[in-house]
């Protein structure tokens, strides 16, 4: 979004019309409130950026269908010019006309019309340039259908709009609703406006509305509308003295018949503007991130570079985007409703005074006076940035322009950096509400993302700290490695032709995250449908499974105005975390996944795992929606965001850890309950503390050996060309086990039935070597370096007989012969070896044997007596022998 510069933020409010009581939609679901419809339609306005239009920033819903709109605002408007009571110079009139037309033309290009032009909606910035305000009202209210008040101002309405009638009427005789207005309506309104500027006064003000409209209608019988208007207001002389081209312009605008009237685009090219059109350069749309066109294509450096760094004073904040400033304003304690209440725009009566007296069975109420506070007051209130500026006055200039070259320091070195590094340790929720911190993060991410994909590694590193909510959509796209011409790829997918999945999609969308205003709006539904269809159509080998809708929701929410990006993110996400989950027959994938999950439960929390197995509460009963939707089906959006901020940094085995962390949060209740209670508990998952869940799943992840979550149906090794040119995947945690080059020391696939029979996960020889830090012959490729602290401690337990053990074993391993450890009941026998085992309870225990079956049985026994973190070496000692890493204890040589 464009920088704030000398603009202000303005807020205005209106009410959407309430729905008739108790009416259902055609699908049997309750109707969408009009305010939500408006909210959905509003979103696109945020992308309409033009120097002649006031940038829309935000919309919020208040109580009782109130909407508050935030947009760029200027205090000065044409109304102020008119108030001076003297005619405006003809040159000025022409400039205003041209600039308004520029704005109108740009809107028309985007399929919108203003319909509410009036002197107080044509604002003037500090340089006296025109900025059109409230230009989106007609669009967002579905041409006025969702509000009670008519859109537009009586004196400026063109005759055809008046003739088409207004929606608001209790008269049943006018059934036919008028068609939406076209671009030419604004030209008439502009004509009236220009006329007023020329004569220096507002016209038609002293007669009542119905007379005014009748007058406008009767203008159709007049030959010369300008003269009639001038005579009516006694300013014929002034009009006659106007330069020829201004008169011509007025005539062109105030043409009665729409078919004879010019469109804004035609007028812009008209000869009246010949002399001045050269002063205006046509507007170039800035290129968005993730667009195919080179972003620097139109970059022109001035001859003298130092011009770029000329000192504009200390006010760096105004150079930030309007949306950023507004976001920070909110964080600094801004409250829209309060601002509007202070200016008495919102006047609410106590509800005790407005109650109805009598209500019929169908909900219709009687005896309630019309509440005046629901009337439209379209005044725009300037939001004071004083508090925000005050809050940020100590923030150093470096914060606004961080240097990215330094790979070491992520935060600028300034006075406030100490404070900021202290902030990093605070809980995420608090960081997200901290004005200075968010400013720093937003600026940093903004710069990094602008340098994407060059700065991809740094985006990863910063994302590990946290992701600023304002830029989450783009940051996620960067983390998912979205690249290429996504827009034209998306456009090229046929999203209209009916496909058999349509019905299911149609049923699922109105049930997906509908508590959210954006996703429950009709616009949201349309976009949902398009993105989902695009995905289904473009992945012919995969099918739509219920749950895909939930998976789509976070991407759509974050990229509401950029479907292509939402689609691209989803298409990148699914193969990474849900490879082949959406196959038509996905049972083998899911079964393997769930089996690995239950092994992970047994690995991390044997007590819980044993209990769940005993009562038969297996993952198949509850965990399929968790994994199939990556938890989007069970959590509300704000929790998904925090969960996925971390999930996107991890590899495809991270979800297992999240699953275990969720179970552990409900541990006490699960342990205390039987099968039925557990089913009930999970049918409607209780509140989960998501920050704790994230923290614990990272911890669990660090304790899990990489190969423990090996799945044969995971995404196979990506080809080298897939890995983009900007270096390797940047971190150990994010690299996939399956991505590593396969050697004969890696894990080997097991049959599903065999896998299911094993309680504990297997780990590969490679992993063992890495974890034991055995220095092998140079031929091994150890996995990418990882921090030493992140490495789990390990205890290798050799369960072969003593003889085998003494013939050669892994250094540091202890020998507990298989036969002598467990009693007949499966209890642990007391002996020195087992007490050593008990002494290392917190380590990862790897069972080594030359007979796999013995190892797995041994592991199962250990799990039974609640030993955590037990795993088995895949391939056993036989595989280990080939490495030549076995040693013979020295005394016996």
């Amino acid at each position: 979004m464009k920088p704030l510069r000398d603009a202000e933020l303005g807020a205005s409010t209106f009410f959407a019309s309430p729905l008739p009581h108790d009416v259902c939609g055609s699908n049997g679901l309750p109707l969408t409130p009009n305010s939500i419809k408006i909210l959905g339609r509003f979103q696109i306005l945020k992308t309409i950026t033009h120097p002649r239009l006031c940038q829309y920033v935000d919309i919020t819903r208040g109580k009782h269908e109130r909407l508050v709109i935030v947009a760029e605002h200027y205090e000065k408007s044409l109304k102020d010019l008119l108030k001076q009571g003297k005619p405006v110079s003809p040159e000025m009139v022409l400039h205003v006309a041209y600039e308004v037309l520029e704005g109108l033309e740009f809107m028309n290009e985007h399929g919108m019309v203003h319909r509410a032009l009036s002197p107080n909606n044509v604002l003037l910035d500090r340089e006296g340039k025109v900025k059109l305000a409230k230009f989106g009202l007609y669009h967002m209210t579905d041409h006025g259908a969702d509000v009670d008040f008519p859109i537009g101002y009586p004196s400026y309405l063109p005759p055809e709009v008046i003739a088409q009638g207004c929606l608001y009427s209790s008269d049943p005789s006018i059934i036919e609703a008028p068609l939406a207005s076209g671009p030419k309506t604004d030209v008439w309104s502009l004509g009236v406006l220009l006329f007023e500027l020329c004569v220096g006064r507002q016209i038609l003000q002293n007669i009542d509305i119905s007379e005014r409209m009748k007058f406008i209608i009767t203008l159709g019988c007049m030959d010369d509308i300008i003269t009639v208007l001038a005579e009516e207001h006694g300013c014929l002389d002034t009009v006659k003295e106007l330069p020829e081209n201004v008169q011509a312009l007025l005539r062109k605008c105030l043409t009665f018949l729409p078919s004879k009237r010019a469109t804004p685009a035609e007028l812009l090219g008209d000869s009246v503007f010949e002399s001045m059109s050269c002063q205006y350069t046509p507007h170039q749309c800035p290129v968005r991130l993730f667009a195919a066109a080179p972003r620097c294509a139109r970059l022109e450096l001035p001859e003298d570079i130092s011009q770029l760094c000329k000192d504009d004073g200390e006010n760096y904040l105004v150079e930030r985007g309007i949306d950023e400033v507004y976001h920070l304003w909110c964080l600094a304690g801004g409250d829209l409703e309060k601002e509007l209440t202070n200016q008495e725009i919102i006047q609410s009566k106590p509800p005790a005074c407005t109650l109805p007296k009598f209500i019929l069975e169908d909900g219709e109420s009687f005896g309630q006076g019309r509440d005046r506070s629901f009337l439209l007051d379209d005044t725009t209130v300037t939001l004071s940035l004083y508090q925000l500026k005050n809050r940020l006055k100590d923030v150093a200039g470096e914060t606004f322009y961080p240097l990215l070259e330094d790979e070491q320091s992520s935060l600028p070195q300034s006075n406030s950096s100490n404070e900021l590094s202290a902030t990093i340790t605070l809980p995420l929720i608090i960081r997200e509400r901290d004005t200075e911190y968010q400013l720093t993060r937003i600026v940093l991410f903004d710069r990094l993302l602008k340098a994407y994909p060059y700065k991809k590694n740094q985006v990863w590193r910063e994302a590990r700290v946290d992701i600023p909510p304002l830029l989450r959509g783009l940051a996620w796209a960067a983390l998912l490695g979205v690249e290429g011409d996504i827009q034209s790829k998306y456009d090229g997918i046929d999203k209209d032709t009916p496909i058999p999945t349509d019905r299911q999609i149609e049923v699922d969308i109105p049930r997906c995250h509908q508590y959210d205003e954006l996703l429950s709006s009709p616009q949201g539904h349309v976009k949902f449908r398009r993105v989902l269809k695009a995905w289904v159509v473009s992945h012919p080998d995969l099918v739509y499974w219920q749950g895909l809708d939930s998976l789509c929701a976070p991407f759509l929410y974050l990229n509401f105005n950029n479907e292509a990006l939402a689609y691209a993110c989803m298409s990148a996400f699914i193969p990474k975390y849900l490879y082949n989950f959406f196959l038509k027959d996905n049972s083998h994938v899911i079964q393997e996944y769930l089996t690995v999950f239950s092994q992970m439960i047994a690995f991390h929390d044997p007590e819980l795992g044993n209990h769940l197995n005993e009562i038969g509460f297996i993952p198949d009963l509850y965990a399929i929606p968790w994994f199939l939707t990556m938890f989007t089906h069970v959590f509300p959006l704000h929790k998904i965001f925090h969960l996925w901020d971390t999930l996107l940094l991890g590899n495809s085995s991270f979800p297992f850890c999240i699953g275990v962390a969720i179970l552990q949060q409900l541990r006490d209740r699960l342990l205390a309950n039987g099968f039925n209670e557990c089913i009930l508990l999970f049918s409607d998952l209780p509140e989960i503390d998501i920050e704790r869940c994230v923290r614990e799943s990272i911890n669990l992840f660090c304790w899990s050996p990489k190969s423990a979550t090996y799945r044969q149906h995971a995404q196979p090794n990506k080809t080298a060309s897939d890995n983009n040119s900007f270096g390797k995947t940047p971190s150990f945690y994010s690299s996939e086990y399956e991505d590593l080059t396969k050697t004969d020391l890696s894990r080997e696939p097991l049959k599903l039935s065999e896998l299911k029979a094993e309680v504990s996960p297997r780990i590969s020889v490679e992993d063992l070597i890495d974890l034991c830090e055995l220095s092998g012959p140079a031929c091994f490729k150890t996995p990418a370096k990882r921090a030493r602290t992140g490495k789990p401690k390990i205890l290798a337990v050799d369960i072969r007989s003593l003889e085998d053990f003494s013939r050669g074993h892994i250094p540091g391993s202890i020998n507990i012969p298989y036969t002598s450890t467990f009693g007949p009941e499966g209890e642990l026998l007391q002996c020195p070896a087992t007490s050593a085992l008990a002494g290392h309870r917190l380590r990862v225990i790897v069972i080594l044997s030359n007979i796999m079956k013995n190892a797995t049985t041994f592991a199962a026994h250990l799990v039974k007596v609640n030993f955590p973190r037990v795993c088995v070496l895949d391939g056993g000692m036989n595989k280990m022998k080939s490495t030549g890493l076995l040693t013979v204890p020295s005394p016996q040589i």
Binding site: P20, K184, I209, E361
Partner: protein, 555 residues
């Protein structure tokens, strides 16, 4: 009517137009014809992508096609707009649409919906008083206000006890007299005489009652007037503190009624009152928290003031006063019969309670009921005129015999309908929803479609639109227990109401965006302790109770 108009909007007739695109590929001259439906609903880029894909258009004409398509659509749309607009103008010139009517509708639309064109607001005493009071009660003056209110309350209570005393005396005297008469019956007096005496007694009672009623009305009228005057004066004085006249605090008049007896009664009362609270979460993904409470108590306990001025009572009173004009009101559902009056049963008891203390803000109960009766008649008239206009809409099921009942007596209300009264003088309640129920609720088999349940839903809806954040609902839909209400009956009824209220509360989240509320379920006092505990066990099975925070757990 508006809804109907809007429905038609989607059906504006579409026109098919053909887009023709010619291009050369090598030596071939290709012509592409695409029929398009106007007004066009799809996105142009999508349409373009689809045409490219479907007709396998070579990529070298891609941009050309796009430009031509865009300009074609733009041109045709403009032509449509012009045609529609001129057709509308044409309708005016031919007189098909009346100019006066049209402009009047416009004028009406502006004057009824926009502040700029609306008639200036006539000052309303109610709202001025409301804002003044709300300001004062949130200032240090609140103490004084409450003391004043209490003093007025005490004097009314004295009046009432005097009345009760006099009535009692009269009744005693009459009883003695009647006894004498009865002894003489068959001797010197006949049945006729007894009847005459009885009639005389009745008349005497009526006269006395009326006398007291008018006396009370007079006193409360004066009190209300004085009070309102005083509040306005206080407000003025506080605004310019120089010439303040009321600075001395108003001291609390100690109630003269025996406190000991009251305290005993209260102890007894609190023993009988059982209550249990729950915190619940509603919603599948996004959860909202609400408070539920199950209470065993008399419905009028929420209305009655305790007569002695103990601090707890004062606090409660302050709480009610503070929130009177706020956005967190307290409501109560009272089950009434189909007549809007206060002559019998619970309606009479309620009216009596509400007269125990002057209402300084809202009209007296009987005045409110009179107004409501007018509104009911108006609503009926509206309804029947509407039904005459659109007879096809009423042609579903039982509505016809319902209409017959209405025709018989249009001043009565039907089951599921309710009227609302407002009170500032009740102890814990501001708003009373008088929900009409019939004898059906006493029988066992009502369903979720029962008018009484639908009435509850509408009540909750009004709670949403008018910020009633605490609502008390009779769980069994009765105020008193009777023979036929067995344990299974109670359980079944409680389950139904719990489940329906749960559904309505989930629905409410979509009406108001999920505001936390308190819902109190009330059961009659005559219910047994075991029954109460059975119900309190049932509640957490139906609502999801939030997990308790166990501090001892290691995680």
């Amino acid at each position: 009517m508006q809804a109907k108009m809007r429905k038609n909007k989607g059906k504006t007739n579409t026109i098919e137009k053909e887009f023709v695109f010619e291009f050369k590929a090598g030596n071939h001259h290709c012509v592409l014809k695409v029929p398009l439906q106007f007004p066009l609903k799809e996105n142009v880029s999508d349409l373009h992508g689809r045409i490219m894909l479907l007709h396998k258009i070579p990529c070298f004409v891609e941009n050309d096609l796009k430009n031509r398509l865009v300009s074609f659509i733009k041109r045709e749309m403009l032509a449509d707009y012009d045609r529609e607009a001129e057709a509308a103008l044409q309708r005016l010139t031919t007189g098909e649409v009346d100019v006066n009517k049209l402009t009047n509708i416009w004028a009406k639309a502006y004057s009824e919906t926009t502040l700029e064109h609306a008639r200036p607001e006539e000052p309303s005493w109610d709202e001025d008083f409301a804002s003044v009071y709300h300001e004062l009660i949130h200032s240090p003056a609140s103490e004084t206000l409450l003391n004043l209110e209490h003093n007025y309350f005490v004097s009314v209570s004295e009046l009432i006890s005097e009345r009760d005393m006099e009535l009692k005396k009269l009744q005693e005297r009459q009883a003695v007299e009647m006894n004498k008469v009865m002894q003489e019956l068959g001797k010197s007096l006949c049945d006729q005489d007894v009847n005459t005496v009885a009639a005389q007694h009745f008349d005497a009672q009526q006269v006395l009652e009326n006398k007291w009623a008018s006396e009370l009305k007079h006193v409360t009228g004066i009190q209300k007037h004085e009070y309102q005057e005083w509040v306005m004066k206080l407000h003025r004085d506080l605004q310019n503190p120089n010439n303040s006249t009321i600075n001395e605090e108003i001291k609390v008049q100690p109630g003269q009624l025996g406190e000991a007896g009251e305290a005993g009664a209260r102890l007894f009362e609190e023993q009988r009152q059982l209550e249990e609270s729950f915190t619940i979460h509603l919603g599948a993904q996004l959860k909202t928290m609400h408070n539920l409470r199950l209470l065993r108590s008399d419905v009028l306990d929420f209305c009655k003031h305790r007569r002695h001025s103990s601090s707890g009572v004062k606090l409660r009173r302050l709480q009610t006063a503070l929130s009177l004009y706020s956005t967190s009101l307290c409501g109560l559902v009272l089950l009434v019969d189909n007549r809007v009056n206060s002559y019998s049963g619970i309606k009479r008891d309620f009216a009596t309670v509400s007269k125990e203390c002057t209402d300084f803000h809202f009209p007296r109960v009987d005045e409110q009921l009179d107004i409501i009766q007018q509104v009911v008649l108006y609503a009926r008239a509206q309804r029947s005129s509407k039904q005459r206009e659109q007879p096809e809409m009423t042609r579903n099921g039982g509505s016809e015999d319902k209409n017959k009942i209405i025709d018989r007596n249009s001043s009565n209300i039907l089951p599921g309908e309710f009227y609302i009264s407002r009170h500032s003088n009740l102890s814990e309640v501001h708003i009373v929803f008088h929900l009409c129920v019939d004898d059906n609720v006493r029988s066992g088999n009502i369903t979720a479609r029962d008018p009484a349940i639908m009435g509850l839903r509408n009540i909750l809806k009004v709670c949403c639109t008018h910020d009633v954040t605490t609502i008390t609902i009779p769980l069994l839909l009765v105020h008193d227990m009777s023979e036929e209400m067995t344990i299974p009956w109670c359980l079944k009824r409680a389950e139904l109401v719990f489940k329906c209220v749960k559904g309505f509360m989930m629905e409410m989240a979509s009406w108001d965006g999920g505001i936390s509320r308190t819902v109190q379920f009330l059961v009659p006092q005559s219910i047994s302790d075991e029954m109460f505990y059975q119900l309190s066990n049932m509640l957490p099975q139906i609502f999801r109770v939030s997990s308790t925070l166990t501090l001892t757990s290691k995680r």
